[in-house]
Symmetry: C2
Subunit: 472 residues, 2 copies
Amino acid sequence: MNKLPDIAINFPEWYQEVIFQAKLADHAPVRGCIVIRPYGTAIWENIKKILDDRIKATGHENAIFPLFIPQSFLSKEAEHVEGFAPELAVVTHAGGKELEEPLVVRPTSETMIHHMFAQWIRSWRDLPLKINQWANVVRWEKRPRAFLRTTEFFWQEGHTAHATKEEALEETLLMLEEYVNLAHNYLAIPVIKGRKTKHEQFPGAEATYTFEAFLIDGKALQMGTSHLLSQSFAHAFDMKFQDKDGSVAYPYLTSWGATTRLVGAVIASHGDDRGLILPPKIAPIQVVIIPIIKKDTKDQVLEYVTKMEQDFKKYGISVKVDADDTQSPGAKFYEWELKGVPLRFEVGARDIASGTVIAVSRLNKEKMTVFVENIVNWTHSKLESIQQELFIRAQKRYAAMWHKADKFEDFKDALEENNGIYQVGWCQDHACEVRLKEIAGSIRCMLESKELKNCFNCDKASLADVIVGRAY
Amino acid sequence: MNKLPDIAINFPEWYQEVIFQAKLADHAPVRGCIVIRPYGTAIWENIKKILDDRIKATGHENAIFPLFIPQSFLSKEAEHVEGFAPELAVVTHAGGKELEEPLVVRPTSETMIHHMFAQWIRSWRDLPLKINQWANVVRWEKRPRAFLRTTEFFWQEGHTAHATKEEALEETLLMLEEYVNLAHNYLAIPVIKGRKTKHEQFPGAEATYTFEAFLIDGKALQMGTSHLLSQSFAHAFDMKFQDKDGSVAYPYLTSWGATTRLVGAVIASHGDDRGLILPPKIAPIQVVIIPIIKKDTKDQVLEYVTKMEQDFKKYGISVKVDADDTQSPGAKFYEWELKGVPLRFEVGARDIASGTVIAVSRLNKEKMTVFVENIVNWTHSKLESIQQELFIRAQKRYAAMWHKADKFEDFKDALEENNGIYQVGWCQDHACEVRLKEIAGSIRCMLESKELKNCFNCDKASLADVIVGRAY
């Protein structure tokens, strides 16, 4: 294995290399796609499980809709088809024949799901209808990047229908909060939440809410979105219901999604020059045990670590014993640090004699001597504190790169050179937003606060603060 | 809702109707596809969880490979492309342009996964390599039928590589056993396992093992398969490894898969004229509680059933309280029987006074009076016994339709008229196998036994018994 590129100097190369060296993913022989290897898949499965539990706990049910969407469906909502047309993959032949109507490989499922909703919703009794789907989707990517932007990606897409706009907005914001909770309390990634500008919102939506991360290099990443679709799709798909008073009305819709990009966000939020650092709550391996083996004590040490392994498993700690005798302990330290395992134990005959083992935290290389008697409790609490430390460390990083600025001229050079988080005022004119393109910047989201008085670009008053950054 | 068709007289219509009435699935606006509604999705998720746990427990790791396969990959293994070519869906345009090389929507992933294996396998140390993928696949179906045969379906596909043929065969048979375990102990479906004939095996395989169910109407259903691929794909994809002695060798491969067809098998194995009967171990709702509500005792009864609900949940029993006050108890009994919930409780004020509730088993309408004090334990044990009774009932059905026959003439009329399981001798000539087409029959699998002396069709000696049936 080669040394990783310097994370502070060449972050994009570090990101690419750590993914391949840690065996999270590999290049695929299809443009813009990756193969997600077992270690990367295990991280995604852990994230999925957490999010799926919350989706169900908030009253949604999973369903499965077709991969293919008739081309005519996409055209029913004008903004929607305009937004997605350039990114579509199209099946024109099947079963040895040319199809009468081409089928689009879903880039998202609003049109398919709303077609079905129109059949399932008859009366106010059928509302709210709260559905979620775990699926693969395809958007032809011009600049793919592993996990962050791939032609095929994996996600959940929630789709709900409500009798009133208030209820739909409440749902939109509730699921945004669930995403923020996932990011903060499981991925250890601080996020900034807010509304997207009109220009950046989902094609067909009335409002799009986003949660944005800022990565190690100070670039912004949209981690997921929650849309208030309102009635445009309901009109397009003739989705109507009879209300309590007998009148016929169109329901208000929402949709919200988070993708395998979350895995990329974790990689790009916590690593260092030695490799990944995985938050314990989503780490496929929370604890690795390295037996320090010498010929005459081999059996004793292996028996001891096997007992430790069983104890950890019994109490819900995911553990790996690396007893490979073709590798030196040093080589193993290197490998499991690269793979970001939060906690390492080193166990030799001398440790057994003293009833202690050496523990090393991935976060800061801190070495600790731990009594074996109490090791399960100690480990639970240490993993919890690593989880918290990771989040706090990321918060400090945000604080250091977060600036308030009055005018474009005041921040444009600094942002272009070093990235970072810029809180500025904005008049909500698209013409001012466009100015940011000069430095490959954009408004990541609109905040509820109003600390800055004037628009960063013109003389008009600011309507609300916005976060500006340069995005992946 | 309409009355279900008579299951004994018109099974195919009953099957179709029960799926739509119980809201397991709905028609999709794409040919040959279905929408799997929340209730059907929940059954599939339960099956997935059980199988995924076993796949991991037997040392396999999940990974994710691309949906699209370059057309040229499929051509690398001659039998493979010949077998799948007529069923392929092909993406010819993407990102607004015609593709230089069309992309096939995977009908199965051997070619993609073996392409990657060829890069990951270098030495005997990399073996065995044991990978599984949960994915959607597409095969253009001429005669689609909900769950049993759909253009897009959902499955797991295991793919493994081994240093020796013995080890690969062991893996093939191990996973077959895991499938049989799933069918018997969770789906309550007795299956017949055996090897497929040369003519029926997977395109490119050396041997295909199958597990076959016989449904309520006596028709056969291939529930899943496990293939010893041997070295043909390894040669096609130039997959080589350096063995312990320094020589270079091709690994032996296996693949094995089970699909959403398993949901169809459950529906078609256990139902009756009132609807579905779901095995408790995979039922999304194991217990439904119907409060018998009268005006003056409403609060008391609702409080009581809420307490019951909490107790059930606490001890891992999935429960639904149906307190909808727009429906009569009778209408609710009808609905939850249709949906196959294994156990129903009826709770009214009089029951509360006596400290008992009424329980009704979905299997046989048996009514029982149960002491509330002990209800969790009683329910656990009752669900277990319903699970077992379902399996035994299906076994009895098999016994009643299982016949041994010497000659084609002896069984052809009976099989054509009534379906059923026919155990006969076979010389292993394809010419004799073809004879069964006259009655739309086929050899479902070859057994290890040899009870019949001669081939059912010619005068030659039988090499082994085979199971003959008419398949879906």
